[in-house]
């Protein structure tokens, strides 16, 4: 649903023209319906009632299927909600049905806050729709709408009046959801008692200002049947998942020694089960969805958006308000971003420190190796010097000896020649 579906305003300025033939836009509703069928429908129903009062059984009977149910215990510490989603199909219509049941409602000793989880759940669905609406890139047309369209409130068949828990809870919910009160396990109430019980309940609701869902009377085709039905509220229901053979058909019924109570019955005026299904599903399902969207959701949105700082003062102020709103949202985002940035920075600084330490170590190592190499160098150099010196000494001593030898050799040869000469002169 879009916002312009909220209400189409009647334009006083447009003129009315008559057509000279068949243009063909009377197919517009069909075009719209085709698109809806293509998209599929969704319906969310919330059942509030005490443990064991027959919520799940009624859902089974109403939707003619076997939802996975199990008996809840009476000893839940607080009220919880359990939601289950099912995809159903009939003819060419697909329905995504979500059934939400309360668990442990009415079981606690202190029931002051029993309504709170229910209110929180309903608000949460509104909130997530609102969030989607406020997104920058949003896709509302295929958003799975989880907002609660109808709330069946199960009244215990005491036969006398409402319980205080019922009043308190319904008062908290009547501005958030379409409440349809039903009298559960109505096969314990006799015909005359039922009539009195209904009157008592309705008068208690009225005197406490509880606004339950009224079937719409604005459309002539359904106004009559809806008016009658409004007079039958709250509906007395009997749910049954067992089948009993009546005549030659198997019908859903409860078999007692004193007779059979049919879960689905047309003739039986007291047990208005078939009316509930007709009212809820065949005639008014779309209206329930529309009321949820245009009344309850808009109220929620208005309250919340006002908190965010919107002002409805006119077109000039709008951009500023929008800015403020988006700023507020951005602040949260920025704070988060800032936090993450700080964490990253710290990590970075730490890593830098570690790297520094590594570098210093590496430097020290290099330095020490350098020193080592230098020393080695020096040692080698010294050793080489030694050798050089030795070599030089060797060289010089060799030279000396060589020179000495030479001298000796020279003197020897000179003496030898003199002797030879004397020898030769002595013979004459």
């Amino acid at each position: 649903m879009s916002v312009s579906d909220v209400a189409r305003q009647t334009d006083n300025g447009a003129r009315h023209l008559s057509l000279a033939g068949h243009v063909g836009f009377d197919s517009l509703p069909d075009q719209l319906v085709n698109k809806s069928i293509f998209q599929g429908f969704c319906f969310n129903i919330l059942c509030i009632g005490e443990t064991g009062i027959g919520k799940s059984t009624l859902m089974d009977t109403l939707f003619n299927t076997n939802f996975e149910n199990f008996e809840s215990s009476h000893f839940e510490p607080q009220v919880k909600l359990r939601a289950q989603t099912y995809d159903l199909q009939e003819s060419n219509v697909r329905l995504r049905l979500t059934v939400v049941n309360t668990v442990g409602f009415g079981d606690q000793m202190n029931k002051e806050d029993s309504y709170q989880p229910v209110v929180d759940y309903i608000d949460k669905q509104f909130e997530s729709y609102l969030q989607e609406e406020l997104k920058i890139k949003r896709s509302l047309h295929n958003y799975h709408d989880s907002r609660v369209h109808a709330c069946l409130y199960f009244i215990s068949p005491s036969g006398h009046s409402l319980k205080s828990l019922d009043l308190v809870t319904m008062k908290k919910l009547d501005s958030k959801v379409n409440i349809i009160p039903v009298i559960a396990k109505a096969d314990t109430i006799s015909k005359s008692e039922l009539h009195k019980f209904k009157i008592k309940i309705m008068s208690e609701l009225v005197s406490n200002g509880v606004q339950i869902y009224q079937f719409p009377l604005d459309d002539e085709t359904v106004a009559k049947v809806n008016t009658t039905m409004n007079g039958h509220l709250p509906f007395a229901v009997v749910g049954s998942t067992e089948e009993v053979c009546i005549g030659n058909k198997m019908v859903k019924a409860r078999q007692y020694p004193w007779g059979v109570v049919q879960g689905v019955s047309v003739e039986n005026e007291n047990h208005c089960f078939v009316k509930l299904r007709e009212m809820l599903i065949c005639v008014n399902m779309e209206d329930l969805r529309e009321q949820t969207h245009t009344r309850h959701y808009e109220l929620y949105r208005r309250c919340n958006v006002e908190e965010m700082g919107f002002k409805d003062t006119g077109p000039e102020c709008k951009p500023v308000s929008l800015q403020q709103t988006y700023e507020a949202k951005r602040q949260e985002f920025l704070v988060e971003l800032q936090k993450r940035e700080d964490e990253m920075r710290q990590m970075f600084v730490q890593r830098v420190k570690e790297k520094e330490a590594d570098c210093k170590d590496a430097e020290r190592e290099l330095q020490s190796r350098f020193e080592q190499l230098k020393r080695l160098h020096a040692d080698e150099k010294a050793a080489l010097e030694e050798k050089k010196k030795l070599l030089e000494e060797d060289q010089s001593s060799f030279k000396r000896r060589a020179a000495a030898q030479l001298l000796q050799a020279q003197s020897l040869t000179a003496n030898g020649k003199k002797d030879k000469d004397r020898k030769n002169s002595g013979f004459m």
Binding site: V3, S4, V6, A7, R8, Q9, G13, A14, R15, H16, L17, L19, V23, F25, D26, S27, L28, P29, L32, K35, S36, I37, F41, F43, N64, L88, E90, V93, L95, I136, K137, T221, V225, V264, R277, I281, C282, V283, M285, E286, D287, E298, F310, K311, D312, K318, L334, R345, F348, V349, V352, K353, K355, C359, E363, L366, F370, L373, K374, H377
Partner: protein, 382 residues
């Protein structure tokens, strides 16, 4: 007992099989939706744009023919002299029409004189601005507190009239369509098609389709039909896609042809029948625009064009805000559209710290380098 809708148009449980099967009854939902929509009524905004002057291409005649009514009763036609420096004034005509219980509030947005003045550069800007204004107004209304009386004036479809007297698209046509193809659904129409023979029409269509592809113009795309539709429907669907641009002829007058009274144009050489598919694509256009795709045109406007505008609007608003806030601060400019975080004082210190550390690292690296060089040279010395 079968569930029945009190007004059942088509009761979904009518078939004779499975008489005993028990139904829940939610297949009546479409009927409920139908009923509510009829009660609420519909609205549609159609923009007509011609590039050659108001009385040139039969735009008003076509609109009258489409809706079988006279929308332009009291308009005045300007002569050429008045049109030289005429500004583009966008006008709206809104009418309420009803057919078989279905009410339609129809708004026709005229762009008269567009392209008629001598200098036409950027004359489509006022048209684009108009479309944006409607988006903006809707955006504001939608974001307000009280949303009960929102008027939706967004333009759902733009019929762009292409002149049949040229060879295809003109530069003005291309510029106009490109300026608007992401704001509105453009349906191109080949105007005054009775000046073209069938083969000329065919050639022109092919050429125009090629040029549309070549220049990257995104015209309105018909949704593909499901694979499980029957063959007839698929055939119709592909024929429709191949008829773009629709070659149309409009007429406000009824003439007598072959013993029947039809809407048409009387020429010495024959009678052109508006609703004759062999003569022009009027019927195809009307069926597409009104009878089959009107809702889809609205949906595409809402879900695509408007959403794009809105997203763009929000992002540019936040950028503006951020720029103002950070005018005196150092920011890191990022290329994304996300808001740029402003650095607070504490973060500045860490930044300084990091810079100092960078310096130190660099110094140490230089030192290391020097030592290495020293070693090298000393080694070589020995």
């Amino acid at each position: 007992a079968r569930p029945r809708s009190p007004w059942g148009l088509s009761d979904p449980y009518d078939n004779n099989e499975d008489q005993d099967k028990e139904y829940v009854g939610f297949a009546t939902l479409p009927n409920q939706v139908h009923r509510k929509s009829v009660k609420k009524g519909f609205d549609f905004t159609l923009m007509v744009a011609v590039s050659e002057g108001e009385s040139g291409l039969g735009k008003s005649t076509l609109v009258n023919s489409l809706f079988l009514t006279d929308l332009y009763k009291d308009r005045k036609l300007l002569n050429a002299e008045e049109r030289i420096t005429q500004t583009v004034e966008i006008t709206k005509h809104t009418v309420d029409i009803e057919e078989k219980g279905v009410k339609l509030k129809l708004t026709i947005v005229d762009t008269p004189g567009f392209g008629d003045a001598v200098n036409n550069t950027e004359c489509w800007k006022s048209v684009a601005d108009y479309i944006d204004q409607q988006f903006e107004q809707y955006f504001r209304d939608e974001s307000g507190l009280n949303r009960k009386n929102i008027q939706d004036n967004r333009v759902h479809c733009c019929l762009y009239f292409i002149s049949p007297f040229g060879h295809g698209l003109r530069p003005l046509d291309v510029e106009f369509m490109k300026a608007l193809h992401e704001k509105v659904n453009i349906v191109p129409v080949l105007a005054k098609a009775d000046t073209l023979t069938p083969s000329e029409v065919k050639k022109k269509k092919i050429k125009i389709r090629e040029e549309i592809e070549q220049y990257g113009i995104k015209i309105y795309q018909f949704p593909d039909c499901d694979s499980d539709e029957d063959e007839d429907f698929k055939q119709q669907d592909s024929e429709l896609k191949e008829s773009i641009p629709f070659a149309v002829i409009g007429s406000n007058t009824v003439v007598e042809a072959k013993g029947k009274r039809v809407r048409g144009r009387l020429y010495p050489w024959g009678i052109v029948e508006v609703e004759n598919s062999a003569h022009c694509d009027f019927v195809k256009l009307r069926n597409m625009l009104i009878r089959t795709h009107m809702q889809d045109l609205k949906d595409v406007t809402r879900e695509t064009h408007y959403e794009n505008y809105r997203a763009h609007c929000i992002q540019s608003m936040t950028r503006m805000v951020v720029k103002e806030r950070n005018r005196n601060k150092l920011t890191r400019e990022s290329g994304t559209d996300f808001p740029i975080p402003a650095l607070s004082g504490a973060a500045d210190d860490t930044e300084k710290l990091i810079r100092e550390k960078d310096e130190e690292l660099r110094r140490m690296q230089e030192m290391l380098q020097r030592i290495q060089d020293q070693m090298h040279t000393q080694k070589e010395a020995y």
